[in-house]
């Protein structure tokens, strides 16, 4: 799957989990850029992304992300 398509699918997950149709996620987006992206929402996002792509992250991987682009790198490294 190309990177743009993964980002598109992640954006749809964010819209669903954050319950906000207006959310637009970009590679440079960080948690601090999105009002609703708090620690509990973060868990819901990770679970939803793991389910959607049928992958599993490690806690070390998650802690290493500084923005959505780094999450995308991690997803692509898992063969998506």
């Amino acid at each position: 799957m190309d990177r743009i398509e993964i980002l598109k699918q992640i954006n749809a997950i964010f819209i669903d989990v954050l319950d906000n149709e207006d959310v637009v996620i970009e590679e440079t987006t960080q948690a601090t850029d999105v009002d609703e992206w708090d620690s509990l929402t973060h868990i819901q996002l990770v679970v939803a992304i793991e389910k959607h792509f049928k992958i599993r992250f490690t806690s070390k991987e998650i802690q290493s992300w500084n923005n959505v682009g780094e999450m995308l790198n991690c997803i692509q490294e898992k063969g998506i």
Partner: protein, 132 residues
């Protein structure tokens, strides 16, 4: 990890007078479906229907008291009500772990409640977090 995928749990619950009246006293939902025998009969039920959210209380008890750890918090819960539940019904609760997300210490369960006739009265999913 103390949990494993496919792990199953079972409990049984009875909707007693104490629970039914306690729910009404606590939340003040006296809708006639739950309190007026004739109204409930007229709507095609066998008697006053128990509040569906009493079952959510049992789910809360299951997560809070029946798992092998107390280090838990409910993240989300969804429930569908399939059949009416009546006073003093005995319900069999079954749950199974359907997802383990170690990266964020989260566990997902599916569950159902069956009555004595074996009919599913409610089913749903719960996601919990585990404190470190």
């Amino acid at each position: 990890m103390i949990f494993e995928l496919g792990q199953k749990f079972e409990e049984s619950f009875i909707i007693s007078d104490e629970i039914y009246n306690g729910f009404i006293h606590t939340f003040n939902d006296k809708n006639p479906l739950h309190t007026n025998q004739q109204f409930a009969l007229d709507k095609g039920f066998k008697g006053v229907v128990m509040h569906g959210n009493i079952l959510n209380g049992f789910v809360s008890y299951f997560i809070g008291e029946c798992l092998p750890t107390k280090n838990v918090i409910i993240h989300s819960q969804e429930i569908q009500f399939k059949n009416a539940v009546y006073l003093n019904d005995e319900l069999q609760f079954k749950s199974e772990i359907i997802g383990i997300y170690e990266s964020v210490n989260a566990i997902e369960f599916k569950f159902d409640f069956k009555n004595k006739e074996g009919k599913t009265v409610a089913k749903g999913k719960i996601q919990i977090g585990l404190f470190k």
